[in-house]
Symmetry: C3
Amino acid sequence: MEGLELISFNIISNVGSAKSKVMESMQKSRNGEFEEAQQLIMEANDFLMIGEKEHFQVITQEAKEKNVDITILFMHAEDQLMSTVTLRDIANEVLENYKMMYELKQLIKEKM
Amino acid sequence: MEGLELISFNIISNVGSAKSKVMESMQKSRNGEFEEAQQLIMEANDFLMIGEKEHFQVITQEAKEKNVDITILFMHAEDQLMSTVTLRDIANEVLENYKMMYELKQLIKEKM
Amino acid sequence: MEGLELISFNIISNVGSAKSKVMESMQKSRNGEFEEAQQLIMEANDFLMIGEKEHFQVITQEAKEKNVDITILFMHAEDQLMSTVTLRDIANEVLENYKMMYELKQLIKEKM
């Protein structure tokens, strides 16, 4: 498939940006900065959507033409994409988790 | 390898069901519904086992015949499988984590 | 590419050891044994570094020669590597999370 190298680099670049945002989001959640954490997940989603669009383009190409030669670079791009989607799902849970923890902290402060 | 497309769709379908169960389990844990959360992880495991069985069948086929032509669809199926196994491992930890959090909540309520 | 089977097994073996360390680390964090948890993540990192070195060697080989025939075994090795990197990132967050939880626990004990 023509352009697979370019597509791979495009996925890797956008997914890399998404991963940075997700990691930063978890740090913000830990610090109790929940609006910032939420904002960073939304920014990560924008980058992930570009990666996913490229991914579906290649899947569709294969379904139509059955002749996509897989490269290790593309395989790596796909691995990065799926890992970062998982990490994003978890960052959402981490955000909710720290929210509850900070509520408990607040409760202890108030009542003591 | 014959039937790889069917195997790929079979993995994607079962792993998709497993992922839904895992996501639902984390939500139940967050709400303090730990038995339901545990039950959903067990249901996810049943779907994952079907995916893993198909996965090992293809790995074994390659080891025996050395002629499995990899498709992007199968690669995607494998990525989904591995990601969901990771998510399941984390859902187990999320469950334990919220259990401790709800115990703390209870402790605060009782003592104040 | 010659030696790809050996490289695949080498990645799978080292990443398997890393995953065990990461899973053990999360358990230690849950038990409040944070130094041990930290130590286990560092040990996991050592195993992951070996896997990542092999991974880059294959990526580089492809970039130079464009003739790496991908096997399902290598694909599986790469999936394991990426999943475990994600799990390691999360184990770091799990450690920080339980630290805060144990601090809350201590605070409740002291003030009541």
